[in-house]
């Protein structure tokens, strides 16, 4: 029992420590290098920034439900934590929660959190003047005002509807190949038959998974949820101090968790501190942000006009992978 508890807690701690460095690796070694600038210190985006925010003065957001609003980053972190928890082999006996369906559910929580964040935030960034602008002819003086975060909430809702298709399709490819939705079975299958990644369906699904990973992390070019050009930070706009620190930590942690999930589903190597397999998880957790940053550094923001076809094409690729998995 002690061995089991140490295994779970140790793996989560390792994941947490690695995740703190990932944003720094992404920004210092990839973005900054490509953009021919020095970039931030490697510890700055993932470690020093959250520490700094933890000690900043907290502000009360202009939100109808400020406590709920401030707690949402924690909910996001918790969902990422639960995914990591149930892909650790010690939790496989729990069964239902250590399955693809449960992971889809946890990922959905992470996605829907953005809708709530956007809906509950009412920042001053979209305040209008207290009087109509007569010099400009005061066009449409009585139109209902919307907030920038409202737009991001609507976008988050749209992303739930179509943006996350690729990653969910990719998740089910290993399930079809191994004929089981349980992670224990998927890992066991790969230990006998070799990694799913080395099959045709596995390669296609891995590509689809990676694009889904970028969409889920709202990384360029799939950053419509919080594009600087209009909604600025989108759902995160009013997060300050501790809440902002949790936003940063959650993103880094989700990067590690999704990489570990990939390792489980496509390589059959779950995160476990008692085996050398944890190193594979760490390596993938580092490779994914590097690949992601390399792609994002050369891409503009996609509006829905570009987002829809890319998601459709990726989903079709995912369906091809599913069909290949059946064959």
């Amino acid at each position: 029992m002690l061995y089991l508890i140490i295994g779970i807690i140790g793996t989560i701690i390792i994941g947490f420590i690695v995740s703190l460095w990932l944003p720094g690796i992404e920004r210092k070694f990839v973005h900054a290098r490509i953009q021919q600038r020095i970039g931030p210190p490697i510890s700055s985006p993932g470690i020093m920034a959250p520490i700094k925010f933890f000690f900043k003065q907290s502000i009360r957001p202009y939100s109808p439900l400020p406590r709920l609003y401030n707690s949402l980053p924690l909910v996001g972190l918790l969902s990422a934590l639960l995914i990591l928890l149930f892909i650790i082999p010690e939790t496989y006996p729990i069964g239902a929660l250590a399955s693809i369906v449960a992971i889809v559910g946890f990922l959905k929580i992470e996605e829907i959190v953005y809708v709530f964040m956007g809906s509950l935030s009412k920042s001053v960034m979209s305040l209008r003047m207290p009087f109509p602008d007569l010099a400009k002819g005061a066009k449409h003086p009585n139109v209902q005002r919307s907030f920038l975060e409202d737009i991001s909430a609507m976008r988050a809702f749209r992303l739930i509807a179509f943006g996350s298709f690729p990653i969910y399709i990719a998740l089910f490819v290993p399930a079809i190949i191994s004929r089981s939705i349980f992670l224990g079975d998927i890992v066991a299958y790969q230990q006998v038959h070799g990694p799913i990644l080395f099959s045709a369906a596995g390669v296609l699904a891995a590509i689809v998974f990676f694009i889904g990973y970028m969409i889920l992390l709202n990384e360029y070019p799939f950053v419509i949820l919080k594009t600087k050009a209009d909604v600025i930070e989108g759902p995160y706009l009013e997060y300050a101090a501790k809440s902002r620190a949790f936003v940063y930590i959650t993103r880094g942690f989700l990067m590690f968790t999704l990489a570990a999930l990939f390792s489980v589903l496509f390589l059959g190597i779950p995160p476990n501190i008692f085996t050398w397999g944890i190193l594979v998880n760490v390596i993938i957790a580092v490779i994914f942000p590097i690949l992601m940053a390399s792609l994002s550094a050369f891409a503009p923001i996609f509006t829905f006009k570009q987002f829809y076809p890319v998601t459709l094409a990726t989903s079709i690729l995912g369906v091809v992978a599913l069909l290949a998995a059946f064959i």
């Binding site: 002819g137 919307s146 509006t303 570009q306």
Partner: protein, 369 residues
């Protein structure tokens, strides 16, 4: 427009991450599609004209350089031209050539800033960073000539400041700088136009039709991007010795606006090369003029953003009735027009495509009691 069809208003600014200057845009949207737009400036009014009133001409001229942080030189140049026209001063040919070198370098740095900012709003930070990196060469050349990166203060009444005289070493540095710029901007243009993701974002987005551009009195590269072949430089005598093309594009969309400015950089390089190779010998300033009273004198020059207007009268050596009209004020109408029917994310890009410089546009205020 029927007011009933508009569902909501999205207000951006006066402080916004996509805006490098303070301005306010109200977008009237329906399902994230802009149905109408209203851009308001006015938070950066400094009353430069009012401060200039009654100042000695030289002092007033130097104040015009503070109007804009991007095209400071062209403001000073135009203000000096007003005095020179009024006082009927013929400046030495060498001074005219050096003024043109500085003005064209300024155009290059302004266009590079435009391209970098456009890429930033487009979300392409890598291109944006690289363009700023390339722009450094121009900034350093301007610093070499004028002693300052932003306010180089080259023109004075009767010619140019002695500090801005070009010796052989400086000319050689300008030649080397132009070679570097030409190579790097060609590389950028090739990569930019061959990127399908970028082309998908900018082609056919926020277009301004030629007839609407004329109706809205659009000026500068934004007008030329709609296919209208008008450049104030063609009407300026000092540009007569130089051979250059007026760059136009047909579509008036974001792509056309970006490309017009890219090609104009090559034309500016061409002009500077001609000026450097044929730089006349002789004096750089004529100090033999005498101050006298003048009527209101008008002067137009082609600033990086379009036609810039300055006018004032001189009374007892002091300026009176100063009026300055910057190109961006003419282009605000086009910005409001261009974004209609497009997605909110494209709207900021649609505004930026007109190369707004709202801080120098803040020239008048209306006090509502």
């Amino acid at each position: 427009m029927d007011k009933n069809v508009i569902e909501t208003e999205i207000t951006m600014g006066t402080v916004h991450s996509a805006a490098i200057e303070p301005y306010r845009v109200r977008l009237f949207v329906e399902d994230e599609i802009v149905k109408d737009a209203e851009i308001t400036v006015g938070v950066n009014h400094r009353g430069v004209e009012r401060i200039m009133e009654g100042l000695p001409v030289e002092k007033a001229n130097s104040l015009t350089e503070k109007i804009c942080g991007i095209c400071s030189g062209v403001h000073l140049w135009n203000s000096v031209l007003v005095a020179e026209k009024g006082l009927e001063i013929e400046i030495p040919e060498r001074a005219s050539y050096i003024r043109i070198i500085v003005a064209e370098l300024e155009r290059i740095h302004s266009h590079l800033l435009y391209l970098a900012h456009g890429n930033e709003v487009l979300g392409h930070e890598t291109f944006s960073m690289r363009l700023f990196y390339i722009r450094e060469t121009v900034m350093e050349l301007l610093r070499m000539i004028g002693g300052n990166r932003v306010q180089y203060g080259v023109p004075i009444i009767g010619g140019i400041r002695p500090r801005a005289e070009l010796d052989e070493m400086k000319i050689q540095k300008i030649r080397e700088g132009l070679d570097y710029l030409e190579e790097k901007i060609k590389e950028f243009a090739d990569r930019f136009t061959s990127d399908p993701m970028i082309m998908s974002r900018i082609t056919g987005v926020c277009p301004i039709k030629r007839e609407d551009a004329l109706r809205l009195a659009v000026t500068g590269p934004t007008l030329r991007a709609t296919g209208v072949e008008f450049d104030q430089r063609r009407k300026m005598e000092c540009y007569d010795p130089f051979e250059f093309d007026i760059i136009t594009q047909d579509d008036g969309d974001i792509k056309s606006n970006l490309l017009v400015r890219v090609f104009e950089i090559f034309e500016s390089i061409k002009i500077i090369r001609q000026a450097v190779e044929n730089l006349p010998n002789g004096a750089i300033v004529d100090r033999s003029w005498e101050m006298q009273d003048t009527d209101i004198i008008k002067s137009y020059v082609e600033a990086p953003r379009g036609t810039l207007y300055h006018s004032y009268a001189i009374e007892e050596g002091r300026v009176r009735n100063v009026v300055i009209r910057t190109p961006s004020i003419a282009n605000i109408g086009a910005m409001q027009y261009a974004v209609i029917g497009h997605h909110i994310t494209d709207a900021q890009l649609g505004i930026v495509q007109c190369d707004p410089c709202f801080t120098c546009t803040d020239r008048a205020i209306e006090i509502i009691k």
